[in-house]
């Protein structure tokens, strides 16, 4: 049955409309969890507020389990779901650069839009920075191209690489995530906390 758009069950325009609806849900949840506040987000890196970790991993794990159950019931064909391609070197370097951006700016792209939507001026400036960054990448593309395309590995799943079934890997990830949640509850008690 699913994914609906790939299997032509819904038209491209309906798909775009649903993208908008999904976006509303995404933005609403992010804002409700406090992701519109850079100080709350940055708390993750200083231990005073671990909300990012909790929401992020709960979300990832829920969606992962959901997809696996949908596949089990035959509701979605996982072969047709997009899996991000892996360019190892590019992913690691890009991730580190994003990490630097995160600690300086206090936002990531999705959350900055949320912050800007409720009037955070720092979030708007962060978005301006994002555009500059992407332009910089686009114009300096010849300079980045080798790096951008290095370490190509196709679109592997971790479970395949570890020779585990998706389900077993999901269980491992769930256990890791829950471990981190209990650890972060402990960390939050240890560091002083205030609400923003």
């Amino acid at each position: 049955m699913g994914p609906l758009a790939v299997n032509d069950i819904i038209s491209p325009n309906t798909n775009f409309f649903l993208a908008f609806v999904i976006g509303i849900g995404f933005g609403f949840v992010l804002e409700q969890c406090g992701f519109s506040s850079s100080r709350k987000l940055a708390g993750l890196f200083y231990g005073y507020d671990m909300v990012v970790l909790k929401v992020f991993f709960t979300g990832g794990v829920t969606a992962m389990l959901g997809l696996l159950f949908f596949s089990l019931f035959g509701w979605v064909d996982l072969n047709l779901v997009y899996v991000n391609p892996t360019f190892l070197t590019s992913a690691v370097v890009g991730g580190l650069v994003m990490g630097a951006g995160f600690i300086m700016g206090g936002f990531c792209p999705g959350t900055s839009f949320c912050g800007a939507a409720i009037g955070k001026i720092d979030a708007m400036i962060f978005i301006v920075g994002l555009f500059i960054g992407v332009y910089f990448f686009a114009f300096g593309y010849p300079m980045f191209e080798t790096l951008y395309k290095s370490g190509s590995m196709g679109s592997p799943k971790i479970s395949t690489m570890l020779d585990l079934s998706d389900g077993v890997f999901a269980l491992i990830l769930v256990v890791i995530a829950l471990g981190m949640f209990y650890a972060s509850e402990w960390v939050e008690k240890k560091f002083p906390r205030e609400e923003y």
Partner: protein, 208 residues
């Protein structure tokens, strides 16, 4: 903290279930049994050797011959330009893009037509298009193309034209590259329905 306990409980139970049940690797069939039966009865999947040889000699880029016999048999003899996908590999992931596409006519062949037809049946049931079967397989191919019977005098002009075509084709196949000798407007060829445009099975395109 209380919510975390509930969450842990639910997630762990779900994760245990998903870890213990076997993965669902079945691919849904796209055609119902009735639809498939209709196609089998009309036999639209078959392509005559005459048509195939014509395309081979024309070096028609729109066909792809697929040999579904085992690799040993493939090495001993195969048709020009054919690739080998043994029947047992027909569902393998790596052949997906080759079999489910909209740019070429895939023509399966085997010694008889049974295995090739089985390959077609499987792929068709999955909803793939543009796959065909060489009628009669290699056995009929050798009979008609490589060693055509000379028709007797009582045969119609049509039969004789067919013979001439096959004779020429046989030489062309033997000589390798003698396309010039083949009359290409042979009236015996019934045109097949052309390519069915298949929308590229786009996994939705990239993230950022």
């Amino acid at each position: 903290m209380k919510s975390l306990h509930y969450l842990s409980l639910v997630l762990l139970i779900l994760a245990l279930i998903i870890a213990l049940v076997p993965q669902n690797t079945t691919r849904p069939y796209k055609l119902t049994a009735e639809q498939l039966l209709t196609e089998i009865r009309t036999g639209t999947q078959f392509i005559s050797p005459d048509e195939v040889v014509d395309k081979i000699i024309q070096k028609d880029p729109s066909i792809q011959l697929i040999d579904v016999r085992n690799p040993r048999e493939f090495d001993m003899f195969n048709l020009p330009g054919a690739i080998n996908i043994p029947l047992q590999d027909i569902l393998s992931e790596k052949n997906f893009d080759l079999l489910n596409q909209g740019t070429k006519m895939n023509i399966f062949y085997s010694n008889g037509s049974t295995e090739a037809n089985e390959a077609w049946l499987l792929t068709r049931q999955l909803g793939y298009q543009n796959n065909y079967v060489l009628q009669g397989g290699l056995n009929y191919w050798t009979e008609t193309i490589l060693n055509p019977d000379r028709p007797g005098t009582v045969f119609s002009n049509d039969e004789i034209a067919k013979y001439n075509f096959r004779k020429a084709a046989s030489m062309a196949m033997g000589a390798g590259d003698a396309a010039a000798v083949v009359p290409n407007s042979s009236g015996t060829i019934t045109p097949k329905p052309g390519l069915v445009p298949v929308k590229k099975k786009k996994k939705a395109s990239g993230g950022c």
